[in-house]
Amino acid sequence: MAIDAAHPVPPNLPRQVGLDQIPPHVPKELVRQSGLTTGAEFLANPHDFMAAMHEKYPPIFYDVGEYINAWQLIRHEDALFALRHPEIFSNEGATPFPRDPDDYFYFIPIEIDPPHHRKYRNIVDPLFCPAGVKQLEGLIRQRARDLIDEIADKGECEFTTDFGRPLPVSVFLDIMGLPQDMRDTFVSWAVDLLHAKDRATMGRAFKNITDYIKSAIAEKKAKPDGGVVSLIANAAPDGVPLSDKEVFGFVVFLFIGGLDTVFATLNNIWLWLAQNPDRVQEIIDRPDDIDAVVEELLRRWSVTFSGRVLAQDYEMRGVQMKKGDRITCVLPACNFDPSVFPNPKEVDFDRPRKTILAFTVGVHSCMGGHLARLELKIALQEWLKRIPRFSVRPGTHIEYRPGGVVGPEFLPLVW
């Protein structure tokens, strides 16, 4: 049954975790404990781990994880199917982010399935579509240049804190219509919310974000402007204004959804660039192919996963799944599917164009995809113009963050 977004209620889904909570319909031979996102083997080199899954795991298996048990889809074809059939693989209740049950809200639009989903996307699509984000190009370029100005003459930086984190936060503030002087505050909130080791710090960060967003919404209602917060706060699809819960759930989702993914993507790609000076030169020598470069880098360095809940019993590749089961599309693994991308670990800017899964597909495909592509393109162009030769500081041991957004924890660079 479709949920009522104006009156959110917490989902009543059993959360299975651990070896003693495997439903009886799951065949024993399909049960694995892969350690995806948390295990030592994964964290040693997450992308190599996910590329190797095609040799080591069945196409569909049931993973008993540290936080949740779920079916894992690693084939490109299977993920396309699941993501394109929301009536079978639903998003309702599929986002594990914890919320206060007494003041519950939905993340909009990701937790809303068709037919209501489109109503929300129509509000912001004009700003997030290719033509919309292109209007931000000059501003993004300036933000990138400002950050590079601060480090270019130093001969070194810690990439994640000096560029990877602040660039997407600045751009986020611009597109949302929020003031740039909030940048460092937003950075610290994002770090605490998404990477704190303890729940109290996470809770405090979420409270700060909540309070700030609520006051920003009130301000934009009183004084509308062209930013996304104002667009959402003042939206009235079919003449009906969005409720406070809808507005809040929409804005807070953009905050959580947009920041860490671009951050991790930049960090992964800059690590690879720093280790591959010949490929950096190739990118510099082919300025007209920048869009193909961006697309291939996004395929090779996808950072996240996409979860769904079975809305009905369904059989796939002879595997019987039941209503209420959870599935995870292992998007980076799907982008390494050798039947679609031969020699998948090779970065090849001349690959024939295929649908990549960096941003998923289907109705819930990432609304920030065009913004992310543009940010990556500008970051590459501006960085390589100023700092064309750089490497990882000698003696650095690259460590990866455990969790659902994959990237190196720190990246010290020298030039």
């Binding site: 396309l80 699509d125 290719p130 697309e295 164009r353 649908t355 597909v361």
Partner: protein, 108 residues
């Protein structure tokens, strides 16, 4: 405002206003017309907004706007014809007022 007529594979059709500068894929999505998925949002990086431009309009609309569009079209779910286009790459103008596009049986 210019109008576009979208004809379903089953024969039904709808005519809607699509503003100058907007693309034909988005015209369908904003008006709740099924038959065009447009799931990448016009990157273009998928081929789920495939349409056949009506024979009376192919000369004015022209062929693929870029190499990327031509390449992506090869991955379309239904037969690719000389009149095939990705509708996200057809931008509305006054010259295209009255445009008729036919939607394929499936987008994926």
């Amino acid at each position: 405002m210019p109008q576009v007529t979208y004809i379903e594979h089953s024969g039904g059709s709808r005519t809607v206003d699509v503003p100058v500068g907007e693309n034909v894929m988005r015209g369908a999505l904003y008006n709740g017309i099924d038959g065009i998925a447009g799931e990448c949002g016009g990157a273009p990086s998928c081929a789920t907004c495939h349409v056949y431009v009506d024979a009376d309009w192919t000369a004015r609309v022209g062929g693929p706007a870029s190499e990327a569009e031509a390449e992506l079209l090869q991955a379309a779910a239904c037969e690719v014809k000389p009149s095939s286009r990705l509708s996200c790459q057809i931008v509305m103008s006054d010259q295209l007022d009255g445009l008729v596009v036919h939607m394929p049986e499936a987008q994926y």
